[in-house]
């Protein structure tokens, strides 16, 4: 169990660092969120990150408010740690843009204070 726990912590830490790293902050390409949602499931993203990108032990939180597209894309193509590499042969740039568009549509969750079960 310890290895798994630590691995989970590692991945979380790595992606947290993605969020604050000095990646180029270019505009995200436009994408089709509906198609992205399908790809998010068909390409297995949800297996580690959850259906709405909420994250967990196996993969970090992706949504809402995903990291900049450049950081997102770099992690897809040249992943840090154990994430499988998604090369262009299996996930086109358009697919990546669609998935990113989907993640951008994931709504903010209710405030913690408004969820009684999270206040005990």
């Amino acid at each position: 169990m310890s290895t798994r726990f630590i691995l989970g912590a590692t991945v979380v830490a790595a992606v947290l660092s993605l969020g604050t790293a000095a990646w180029a902050q270019g505009a995200a390409p436009s994408g089709n969120a509906d198609q992205g949602k399908r790809l998010f499931v068909n390409d297995g993203c949800y297996q580690c990150h959850g259906y709405v990108g909420q994250g967990g032990n196996a993969g970090p939180r992706l949504a809402p408010a995903p990291v900049a597209f450049e950081a997102f894309s770099k992690q897809l193509r040249e992943p840090q740690h154990d994430m499988p590499p998604y090369g262009e042969k299996i996930l086109s740039d358009k697919d990546a843009a669609d998935i990113y568009a989907y993640l951008q549509t994931v709504p903010k969750p209710p405030a913690v204070k408004d969820i009684p079960l999270l206040n005990q």
Binding site: M1, F5, I6, A13, N42, G50, A58, P84, K89, P109
Partner: protein
């Protein structure tokens, strides 16, 4: 064979000798009250048909040309039960088997089926899994009976899990060494020369006693070895002849006294050295894996952490440290390890893994994540019992001070040594560090709550939502969470208030799938007499290994709540398949083949209901979950098992 056995009265010799007495009985007048020996004579007196001679009987039935004695007043297995009772073993978890039929009979008749009680299992893997879970709650082993061949083969994975998890399991297996005494056919197939060889690499000790006195001494020795840290499974062979033969009249086997064994304590010089390193450290971190093996262990670790005002990362091998203690920093383990100048690893499975980063990519790479000058201290009893074949010892870790000894036995000395070395000035510095850690702890809890809120209303239900719905129902009870939590992203440890040793019992140890269901039932069996509310979050794939353990829980009225983590796949393996497919640029669309548990979806509620459980589900709408859990817990409080099947997100 021992001298006693050679010269004693074995079953066949006894029968042969008794035949003479039986023959004499035939000619003697009937004696009331001697059922077996008097019945034929009584028949002869009352009936008109003369008794057949022994020769006639043999000719007609193929029986040996002597009169058989068919009953006996004593048997070796009764004495074996006396041995087992002397050890205080409460339960024998077992699927019935002919190679230990005598022992089973002695348990349920001679022994009164109480202390130990025979708990009927439907698979030997379940038997061992139950004993595994039981021991982690109760702090002592349960017994497991099994065939020496096919039963032990089934049991082997469970034994390996217990071995890796440093948990004692007391195995007694049936076998029949004397080839001339075996029944033709199956009994030969169920016999093996060296029964324990199959599991010797992952048990701590085994023996094949050749006499009852030998059995008694080995029974006590096995218990002593199993329960001395590092605790591990042991195996005793109960020979069939030894079980079934009468106890020879001239044999008076005695049961040795079970010694109170003091666990091994670490060397005092090494303890003092470790204490100095810890007190002088600016950024120490304590990693605790299987530190607390008794209720006292948590208190000791709290004392050490508070003396040092050092962060503790509970790696989850046991319930080591209160989850809401300000010094609990488990959710930022890697960051603390990276910045540490001293790391104390207690009863670690994998110290190397805790201080290194390993990438499972096409080219496997690793690098240290700690600073060059960081001092590492290990405190572990596992160093006392390494074996070669199975690689549970993990990669060799560089450590500066390796204290070989049981953590709980050594911590009092370490705490005292630490306190002695802290003067007033140092105390002030440490307290300041403690305040900062307390603030960080609050931040971690807030962060966990914010993370849990994402996907709160999603369907399939998020594992965070499921865990918090469970917590909402049990938080006011005397609860015991008995299943592993890694598969649900450790939400319980992040958000629940863990305080007591029985509120978390770790993982399988060897990652052999099929552990969670039987170990949870075994833990619930141990919890039953304390009236605790046992809860497991049951992985779906794990349950399908041997779901018959559900029947065992219902049959023996073992109350527990099982909440199905029904993500409809072996998701760990899906992720491995994704890695392989993507590495080869083939895409992951096929990764669920061979891993998904769909087509058809399994109706776990019906499965449980068919075996006597109260069950609801499948539940996909998070709003329905709370009321279902409430109804199920009401059933559990009546003393029965109940299940709620929850269709969840993967992790």
């Amino acid at each position: 064979m021992s001298k006693t056995s050679r010269t004693g009265v074995d079953r066949r010799k006894f029968l042969k000798g008794a035949a003479l007495a039986g023959a004499a009985t035939l000619a003697a007048p009937p004696v009331p009250g001697q059922a077996q020996s008097t019945a034929p004579a009584a028949g002869a007196a009352a009936g008109s048909t003369p008794l057949p001679t022994a020769q006639t009987a043999a000719a007609e039935t193929g029986a040996p040309a002597h009169v058989r004695v068919l009953t006996q007043e004593t048997c070796g297995s009764d004495f074996m039960v006396d041995c087992i009772k002397s050890l205080g073993i409460e339960y024998i978890c077992s699927n019935p088997g002919s190679s230990f039929r005598s022992l089973q009979d002695s348990i349920i008749t001679y022994g009164g089926n109480k202390s130990p009680e025979f708990i009927m299992c439907c698979h030997e893997e379940s038997s061992v899994g139950m004993a595994h879970g039981y021991a982690k709650i109760e702090g002592k082993p349960a017994g497991v009976f099994a065939h020496g061949t096919v039963g032990l083969q089934h049991a082997a994975m469970g034994i390996y899990n217990a071995y890796c998890d440093r948990v004692p399991v007391y195995m007694v297996i049936g076998n029949g060494l004397d080839a001339t005494k075996r029944r033709p056919g199956v009994e030969w197939l169920h016999t093996v020369q060296d029964a324990c060889a199959m599991v010797r690499d992952f048990t701590k000790w085994d023996d094949t006693p050749a006499s009852l006195q030998h059995f008694a001494e080995s029974a006590v020795r096995a218990y002593k070895i199993a329960t001395t840290p590092p605790m591990e499974p042991v195996v005793l062979v109960a020979d069939g002849e030894l079980q079934e033969n009468p106890i020879p009249p001239d044999e008076k086997p005695r049961i040795p006294k079970l010694p109170r064994t003091a666990p091994p304590q670490g060397d005092s010089g090494a303890v003092a050295e470790a204490a100095k390193l810890l007190v002088d450290a600016e950024n120490p971190v304590i990693l605790a894996d299987r530190c607390a093996r008794t209720p006292a262990g948590i208190g000791l670790l709290v004392q050490l952490a508070e003396a040092l005002q050092a962060p503790v990362c509970d790696l989850g091998g046991r319930m080591n440290f209160p989850s809401r203690h300000p010094l609990n920093q488990s959710n930022r383990t890697r960051a603390l390890v990276q910045q540490a100048d001293v790391i104390l690893g207690i009863e670690m499975t994998d110290f190397w893994g805790a201080t290194n980063e390993f990438e499972d990519q096409l080219h496997r790479t690793s690098k240290s994540v700690i600073k060059d000058a960081t001092k590492r201290i290990s405190l572990s009893s596992t160093d006392l019992n390494h074996k070669s074949n199975y690689q549970d010892f993990e990669r060799f870790a560089d450590v500066d001070v390796a204290i070989t000894g049981d953590a709980e036995a050594t911590l009092p000395a370490l705490i005292e040594a630490v306190k002695r070395q802290i003067d007033a000035g140092r105390r002030s510095t440490l307290d300041d560090r403690g305040r900062k850690l307390g603030a960080a702890h609050k931040g971690l809890l807030e962060r966990a709550r914010a993370d849990a809120a994402v996907g709160w209303d999603a369907s399939p239900i998020s594992t965070a939502r499921m865990c918090m719905e469970v917590w909402n129902q049990i938080k006011g009870e005397d609860w015991s969470m008995v299943s592993p939590t890694g598969g649900v992203s450790r939400w319980p440890q992040r958000l629940w208030d863990f305080q007591k040793h029985y509120q978390h019992i770790g993982d399988s140890g060897g990652y052999g799938v099929g552990y969670a269901a039987p170990s949870s039932v075994g833990a619930a069996l141990a919890n039953r007499k304390y009236g605790r509310l046992t809860v497991s979050i049951q992985p779906d794939g794990d349950l399908m290994y041997a779901p018959g353990v559900l029947w065992t829980a219902a049959h023996h009225r073992i109350p527990m709540l099982a909440v199905m983590h029904n993500n409809r796949a072996y998701h760990q393996e899906v992720m491995h398949l994704q890695r392989m497919s993507n590495r080869r640029n083939r895409g992951v669309e096929m990764a669920s083949v061979g891993c998904a548990i769909t087509g058809p979806n399994i109706d776990y509620a019906k499965l449980a209901q068919s075996m006597g459980w109260y069950a609801e589900g499948p539940i996909s709408d998070p709003k329905d979950l709370g009321p279902a859990l409430q109804r199920a817990i009401a059933v559990v409080k009546r003393g029965e098992p109940a299940m709620v099947d929850v269709v969840t997100q993967p992790r």
